[in-house]
Symmetry: C2
Subunit: 340 residues, 2 copies
DNA sequence: CGACGTTGTAGCAACGTTGTAAATAGGGAA
DNA sequence: TTCCCTATTTACAACGTTGCTACAACGTCG
């Protein structure tokens, strides 16, 4: 039992294949009577267009790729959900490629997705560097979300990471913390450098010294690493009274390590996270965090792909590389100001 | 600048299109010399097969659909990641469809994905009933993951929900809890009935009475609902000393509500969750939970689609409906036995 | 020396769709 | 009546790929 094709519908309705195609595509000049017959036949056969064939003919694929480290990371799960929804509004399906944040797999994802496969790609790279983009065939519209420390001419959507980090650390200084640590330094990660910059700027603005031992590097942005780093900070002869974590997972790990040591949050130690994952609103204590507008990020990214795609179709002169800054807010919760 | 096609490669290599196709597909009988020439031309042109055209010709799409409530729910984020990985091993890309757990969107997902689009679908339905499957064109292999309370002849992968719930509640009884509540009853949800059954069975086995007011219904399986339900339980004249939550999100919410009331976990109240999401290992206190083998679920589901797909291709007589039970474990953590 | 099998190559058709252009029908104007 | 215009429909080709089949070249064997 094959699926119905235009041909099947045409035979049943007693018209040509093309007329059926015209009806399906809303072409204006079809005799009302034929239109009715075709519509009846469409329903009777349960016709669904063969997307592959249509795209082959139209030269579009109907897919965009979403390249990210891992769906199991809450931030990416939430973002992916929003991107899928936004893409659907433009008639796109989303293919998700997981890279584990490794440069190798990010490169593979970039090169293996030929232009036959996808109409565009949204990347959330962690380890890609400028040269990886150099030999990239640029037929596919690309948008980076999150950050590009690398200076490549590619459209880009993100919050102002430096300002966000400054805001977070500024908040810690405002509530009287004087020994503010940071967890999340990482050499290969684009955002890490920016958030570190914001952290240092805020320390400067608050007149606080920079102490290298308060700035702990991590290998991964996972809970376990956050706990490890926090543990390390609590072992210092002079403990910090606050810590800025470069994402919520690290902060959750830090929270956990503090609890293990009997360190009270926020009385002894204030903690700020980054991402406002749903988890952060329900932790004990709840987590003060930077809340990027994820929906805005998702919609901006998809819109950019759409615009680039249209531009290519019309052979228009390309518009300048876009650098969309989406809004964010500081979500103040118990981990810095306690129960209210 | 178009993408390279077989024709381009053939012209460059000085052979026919078909010979290039033969090389690309690993056909044995190609003269070594021609093979070399073609391979060189392939690299020179950067040829990538047009998947759409290939699938059109082969009658396969290369995609499977994954229909689930929402990617932002940690359990589904984790599961989706594993399914994508498992599907890749079979050469499949995964299209994700989010339904928000509504019956309407689950039905739409089921009917709109024609067989042109996908080679199979993995469903994690929450609200579908038997009649929704009745008028389903069954050309696409379908696998349900999680639970089907509905009795339909569709392949199915899940843990033994009744046994898992019994194990969880049995654990609470074993550590001496006598007034054990349950959060998660829900009329439309397949798993809820099974977990409730396990809960009641375990109460019976432990010689504990069933008290209807201890069994709190929820609308959604989200953290907020867990907190609300827990709050309600803590308002009872006679508080429970333990609670079994039907998933981790509800448990995290319950944990939060307990903290808000100053109720100590596990001293005053033991909590068990379900799903073993990564979050549950790092909450304060960490959460005792049922840990399904998610990787096994993902791989079993994809394998089943693969088997059904092959069966259809060979016109074999269909094998019986499979009901794969994957293993689970009780992960005992602080929320029932405290710091160790 | 001819029949035959093995190895290698290529032409053609078809997958289901749509753009283009040509064909048809029905009016009304010349 | 003839011709042109408009409204509608249709045939055909093409998108890029691969299965089928034909065929050529080359040995091998009787």
């Amino acid at each position: 039992m094959r699926a119905a094709t235009l041909k099947d519908v045409a035979e049943l309705a007693g018209v040509s294949v093309k007329t059926v195609s015209n009806v399906v595509n809303g072409y204006a000049f079809v005799k009302p009577e034929n239109r009715r017959k075709v519509e009846a036949a469409l329903i009777a056969t349960g016709y669904r267009p063969n997307i592959g064939a249509r795209n082959l003919r139209r030269g579009k694929t109907g897919f965009i790729a979403l390249v990210l480290p891992e769906l199991s990371i809450p931030y990416f799960g939430e973002l992916a959900g929003l991107i899928i929804t936004a893409a659907q509004a433009h008639g796109w399906n989303v293919l998700i490629e997981q890279t584990q944040g490794t440069r190798d797999r990010e490169r593979t994802a970039l090169t293996s997705m030929g232009p036959h496969m996808i109409d565009g790609a949204i990347l959330s790279p962690e380890a890609l560097s400028a040269e990886d983009f150099a030999d990239l065939d640029s037929r596919v519209p690309l948008v980076m979300v999150g950050e590009h420390a690398v200076d490549v001419p590619i459209d880009h959507v993100a919050i102002d990471n430096v300002l966000a980090a400054r805001t977070a650390v500024g908040h810690l200084a405002t509530i009287g913390r004087r020994r503010i640590a940071a967890i999340g330094r990482n050499p290969t990660r684009g955002t890490a450098a920016l958030r570190l910059e914001g952290y240092r700027a805020a320390l400067g603005e608050a007149g606080l010294p920079q102490d290298d031992e308060l700035d702990v590097p991590v290998r991964e942005y996972h809970r376990g690493e956050g706990a490890r780093a926090m543990s390390h900070l609590l072992d210092l002869p002079e403990r910090p009274d606050a810590v800025f974590c470069f994402n919520d997972l690290l902060a959750i790990g830090a929270l956990r390590a503090a609890a293990d040591r009997g360190v009270r949050v926020p009385e002894d130690l204030a903690i700020v996270g980054f991402d406002n994952t749903e988890e952060s609103a329900y932790s004990v204590p709840s987590l003060t965090t930077i809340a990027p507008d994820k929906r805005a990020i998702a919609e901006a990214a998809v819109s950019l792909i759409h615009a680039r795609s249209a531009e290519a179709a019309e052979n228009a002169t390309p518009f300048d590389v876009e650098d969309v800054q989406t809004p964010f807010a500081l979500e103040i919760r118990e981990s810095t100001i306690g129960r209210t």
